[in-house]
């Protein structure tokens, strides 16, 4: 329904974002808040910074526009837009995880799936355990963007066995 009612969202650092209701309710969390009549004033989102909230809104706007466009936006085009949106270089790795946390908190399934699939793709096939007789712990490392390092290091020449 094209209700052009505006909803105000407030980020954790106090910035306000005015969005159309249709965009805001992409988030199930916000949708429930509106339904429960908690949305008269701004909706506070204490877990989401303005930087991340801006990106989330950008994503939701695009997806709402895509679904109501008269000449239905091509699935391929939307996928390409998603890929560009989520493209991560080393600097933005933190943003990726913040987006996951936000998408989870705001309950936006498609964004959560997109971001988590990106992380899964980074891990895929890039892990391998390492064990040699001196190190004697297991260590895995993924690609450059996602370093998953084993945190159990220990001094091998002082092997102290529990017994």
């Amino acid at each position: 329904m094209a209700s052009s009612r505006k909803i105000t969202l407030r980020s954790s650092d106090g910035e306000s974002f005015e969005v159309e209701e249709a965009v805001a309710v992409e988030s199930q969390t916000i949708k429930h808040m509106i339904e429960d009549d908690c949305a008269d004033n701004a909706i506070p989102l204490p877990n989401v910074t303005s930087k991340i909230l801006a990106k989330v809104i950008e994503y939701c706007k695009k997806h709402v526009d895509a679904s109501k466009a008269e000449d239905r936006v091509n699935d391929e085009d939307l996928k390409a837009w998603d890929a560009a949106f989520i493209k991560v270089d080393q600097v933005d790795q933190a943003t990726l995880f913040d987006l996951i946390l936000a998408a989870n908190y705001l309950n936006i399934k498609s964004l959560l799936d997109l971001t988590c699939q990106t992380v899964a793709d980074m891990i895929k096939g890039n892990l391998f355990p390492v064990r040699n007789e001196w190190l004697n712990f297991t260590f895995s490392i993924a690609n450059r963007e996602l370093v998953l390092v084993c945190l159990t290091e220990w001094v091998a020449h002082r092997r102290l066995f529990c017994s």
């Binding site: 995880f97 946390l101 992380v119 891990i123 370093v147 220990w154």
Partner: protein
Amino acid sequence: MEWDSSSNSDLSGDEEEAGFMLNDGGPIPFPVENLIQIASPCGFVVTDALEPDHPIIYVNAVFEMVTGYRAEEVLGRNCRFLQCRGPFAKRRHPLVDSAVVAEIRRCMDEGIEFQGELLNFRKDGSPLLNRLRLTPIYGDDEAVTHVIGIQFFTEANIDLGPISGKDSTKSTERFRTGLSSLPILSTGDRNVARGLCGIFQLSDEVISLKILSRLTPRDIAAVGSVCTRFYALTKNEDLWRMVCQNAWGSETTRLLETVPGAKRLGWGRLARELTTLEAAAWRKLTVGGAVEPSRCNFSACAVGNRVVLFGGEGVNMQPMNDTFVLDLNASNPEWRHVQVSSPPPGRWGHTLTCVNGSHLVVFGGCGRQGLLNDVFLLDLDANPPTWREISGLAPPLPRSWHSSCTLDGSKLIVSGGCADSGVLLSDTFLLDLSMEKPIWREIPAAWTPPSRLGHTLTVYGGRKILMFGGLAKSGPLRFRSSDVFTMDLSEEEPCWRCVTGSGMPGAGNPGGIAPPPRLDHVAVSLPSGRILIFGGSVAGLHSASQLYLLDPTDEKPTWRILNVPGRPPRFAWGHSTCVVGGTRAIVLGGQTGEEWMLTELHELSLASSLI
């Protein structure tokens, strides 16, 4: 499934998963309890060996504390800055032993481990003795991808004089006591707390359900060894079931659930075993009953845990049309002749494939009056089991020794084979048995592999088919083949592609040791999409009972030999094999003696049998 979603990690660095306080009483993969006793912690550095000059991509907290350099300052640089006295020096300090440095370079070039001692310097210029061990890590294609450096730092008793212009005595004093008074490291990595890897900020639920569930079984096994938190997450059966389902498809997972003993084995172990094939073994099975009259060139297929056998060539070369069932779930499995009202005409050299769950479809073969192209469907669960002819429109040429497989559970695919007057075929046809009135459809392809008989077709990765071996046409001659071809039927215009082991123009370099060319062999499709090749008629002295494994989804598919304990069948061609319950391949017949004993079966079990 219980998720403790309140355990969102805080970023204070005291994350439980980063530490060694694992006390859930369960088995622990490494002796972590003792770490609390460690007196001299070590620095830990990881460099990227694929990038020029091996930049550092990870340093641990000890490194930071001892050297005085913070992670942000050193990531992306080569470790050699430690040989310079202080951050402003441009050159290696003269007291650093250049022979050792050369030795490090030599080891790195050769991809071997280095052990030795080297003089290093803290950020404030004070000297450190670094007992260093560098270990190269090899990636999948045998190139070194990372180097791990473990550093034992001790004080170096060298008087270097003041660092130019700076009064270092005070700071040196301070740091001299530094090493011995380092706090016992009871938790791990401060870098993680700073977001070097943000994945640790996420809750267990998100990590497991949303990220880990999308990985392959092989990756989950590796993820489990990253840290104690992930180790705990990957112990969850529900996660494994999701992973198996995503990796192998819901049909295979459902099938695996019916395997007796599977519940006790658990998804985690089942997935591991089907991935590593560590529990694969040959066994001999003795069953009761008999398949009489004896025959060869029959066709067998498994429906769940029941093996169905149809037709074959009798002693006087007459085509047979009887049906037998062997229930391997029974306590005393035995062959039972199935009384059916209207069996298909007798035949040999036909194919029998499972469709629609518990139905079997017969196609083609050589009957009493010549080659056939009819289709018959057996409903095994009907009472009594009934054969029914399917008149599909526009059937392919009558043939024998073709290959077939089932796509999407209900589409029969047949390919190649031998037509009248010995002409070899190379076509591919599809019959959708889920339709009311099935119609044969040829799959057009601009180019087809050389026509052949006695080859195999297997399905992998959902809607892809793989063709291997057979007796292939080459000009006026015919040769045994070890070529691999694949076709992706989810494409708009599917086409055949050459894979490894092929002498065809445009084929990739054969990776690994390809199986000797053969026909009438067996191809078993594993849940992960890999295929296992066994047996067949092989020229010369090659052993046909060697198992070969190929993963067509690899970037560079490579043949691997699988060595499996137990004794395989001695002679292995002209036999029939079917996969029971997704985890056992049963080999029937295959003795080249006159008798085709079907009471002694050979079974290749792929996972531990807990029965």
